[in-house]
């Protein structure tokens, strides 16, 4: 039943798309591979579980989970990019990795390593389109993802902050000379990334009714593959890449079994990096060291 697989894949892909947007924004604007993003995804998912288990209403839980992601991302910014902009290029990347470890282990300490069941406080409605079944919460999740990216696109193109971000992406050194308040704009990149990732974590927890301290590694890492597939630095590429990876994952499970997912998704990433590193929508060529 191919249509159902595609639908399932697209729904899953909307989660990857949101994570991919967070990654791609950091790469495109700051040339920074932010490894803390999977940690934020996991944090939001676990917070969602904890709040729903405690009986909090799901809209409040959503807001709190997303806010947690946003706040944590600002903490990460303070201790990665801001402190280390002038150090060797790998330092922010490495520090973001340390944050991933920090977040995962803190959650392990507080809540243990078990996979948690997320109690969903509403009956799962679904609509039937021909032979395929579409779960309404998943559809809402997809709609949110697309809407969020559309908003982001508008912000980047039409607001001052957006212009500031695009200027920094072009040339961080002259951005300051051009009057961009870099110190205020850079945290916005992290904040947007954190909000997107946290939204993804919330959507995942609600739609798949599970959360664990390892969901960053297991789920959000695939956002990296989605980002590269769509084109690094291109937010619509992130959506496209995310949806495609979701579909690829669903089909690999269907055809080859659940154990082959990593080989397919990351094998594809490897292939893209060798053959066409700019991805489908041709992202930015990353600034490398001078020749």
């Amino acid at each position: 039943m191919i249509e159902q697989q595609i639908v399932n894949g697209v729904m899953l892909g909307s989660v990857y798309a949101l994570v991919a947007v967070a990654f791609t924004l950091a790469i495109g604007v700051l040339n920074f591979l932010n490894f803390s993003i999977p940690g934020l995804f996991m944090l939001a998912g676990m917070v969602t579980w904890y709040l729903l288990k405690a009986g909090i209403a799901w809209p409040i839980a959503a807001l709190l989970a997303i806010a947690t992601g946003g706040l944590m991302s600002l903490v990460v910014e303070r201790f990665t990019y801001r402190l280390m902009r002038h150090s060797a290029h790998f330092v922010p990347l490495v520090t973001s990795m340390a944050f991933l470890i920090l977040l995962e282990n803190l959650v392990l300490i507080v809540w243990g390593s078990d996979l948690q069941r997320v109690p969903v406080p509403f009956a799962t409605l679904s609509i039937q389109v021909g032979p395929t079944v579409i779960a309404v919460p998943q559809l809402v999740g997809l709609a949110c993802a697309v809407a969020a990216v559309a908003c982001l696109d508008a912000v980047l193109k039409r607001t001052r902050i957006g212009r500031g971000l695009r200027t920094i992406a072009e040339d961080p050194e002259t951005a300051t000379l051009l009057g961009v308040a870099v110190g205020r704009v850079v945290p916005v990149v992290f904040l947007i990334g954190g909000l997107f990732t946290a939204l993804a974590g919330f959507v995942f927890a609600i739609n798949y009714q599970q959360a664990s301290p390892f969901m960053g590694e297991e789920v959000a890492f695939k956002g990296i593959s989605a980002m590269v597939l769509g084109g690094m630095g291109n937010i619509w590429g992130a959506i496209l890449g995310g949806l495609l990876i979701g579909v690829i994952e669903t089909f690999s499970i269907h055809w080859f079994g659940a154990r082959t997912v990593d080989i397919c998704v990351y094998g594809l990433l490897l292939a893209i990096l060798f053959v066409r590193p700019t991805g489908l929508l041709g992202g930015v060529a990353l600034r490398q060291a001078r020749i």
């Binding site: 150090s87 490495v94 154990r259 990096l273 060798f274």
Partner: protein, 282 residues
């Protein structure tokens, strides 16, 4: 020697070998997030040899080292065409693919883990570690050492000065893979059980982080990093998770204030300088 001290020293030995496995490519400027994959290749191929063919575990370890090194050499060709973040991403993807592949190999246990009855005891593991560390020290005091730093500092000029940048990077990548494989095989034969789930990207990240913590400017740094990482839980009698929390905070602190790591070229030069003047130089 008490069992506790012994297993601590075994872990230190294995972590030290892993540290140099990550250090070799990092010394040429490549962030290898696939170290864990090569350790897994070494662990599983060594275990397979001793389980299926009854090979002596030490022989299996040697073969596993060669297998991991060969794999690293082959993979280096496409991977080293990428640079910087792309290289880090490619090694990240490689790690996932290798882990995913082993997960599907039921012949070595797949997802259920793989018991390894043949045992290598502490003295042999310690001997391996000492030899590896000595060899790496020697290697970095040859022209290879300065060439590798030259490539890491300025690839373009190193090339114009006649160095084979690709050759050095490939050698470093493959050599690092081989060392990681050795560490994996030794681990498998000492703790007698391996699980593919432990060889994920996060494991690579731990190794890379403690090497960076120690410092990649000299050969001494990785050893310090491995020592700190191994001894940290002993200083804090908490759970494993607490140890990693403290480790992560330590990394963040060091990267904030001293990103070159604890042991820098300057530090070593100064320490050696004191010794030389204390002994009276010629």
């Amino acid at each position: 020697m008490s069992g506790y001290l012994e297993s601590l020293l075994v872990l230190l030995s294995i972590n030290a070998i892993l540290a140099y496995g990550a250090f070799l490519p990092m010394a040429t400027g490549q962030l290898n997030l696939g170290v864990a994959a090569f350790a897994a290749i070494g662990a599983y191929s060594g275990a397979y040899l001793s389980n299926t063919y009854g090979a002596h575990p030490v022989l299996a370890a040697f073969v596993a080292t060669a297998v991991a090194g060969a794999f690293g050499w082959i993979v280096a060709f496409p991977i080293l065409r990428t640079r910087g973040i792309y290289l880090a991403l490619a090694t990240f993807a490689l790690n996932q693919v290798v882990q995913g592949t082993i997960l599907n190999l039921d012949v070595v246990g797949g997802a259920s883990g793989y018991p390894v009855p043949a045992h290598i005891g502490f003295p042999v593991i310690a001997a391996f570690a000492v030899v590896v560390v000595a060899l790496v020290f020697l290697l970095f005091h040859t022209r290879f050492g300065i060439s590798v730093t030259a490539v890491s500092d300025d690839e373009r000029v190193a090339d114009l000065m006649g160095l084979s940048v690709r050759g050095l990077q490939t050698a470093a990548f493959a050599g690092g893979a081989a060392l990681a494989g050795l560490a994996g095989a030794l681990y498998a034969h000492h703790f007698n059980y391996i699980e593919v789930q432990n060889y994920g990207v996060l494991f690579s990240i731990y190794i890379v982080l403690y090497v960076l913590l120690g410092g990649t400017q000299t050969v001494y740094g990785p050893l310090l990093g491995a020592t700190v990482f191994t001894l940290l839980p002993e200083l804090l009698r908490g759970s494993a998770a607490w140890r990693y929390v403290i480790f992560a905070l330590l990394v963040i602190a060091i990267m904030s204030f001293r990103p070159q790591g604890v042991v820098t070229g300057d530090l070593v030069r100064r320490l050696l300088g004191w010794r030389r003047s204390a002994q009276g130089s010629a």
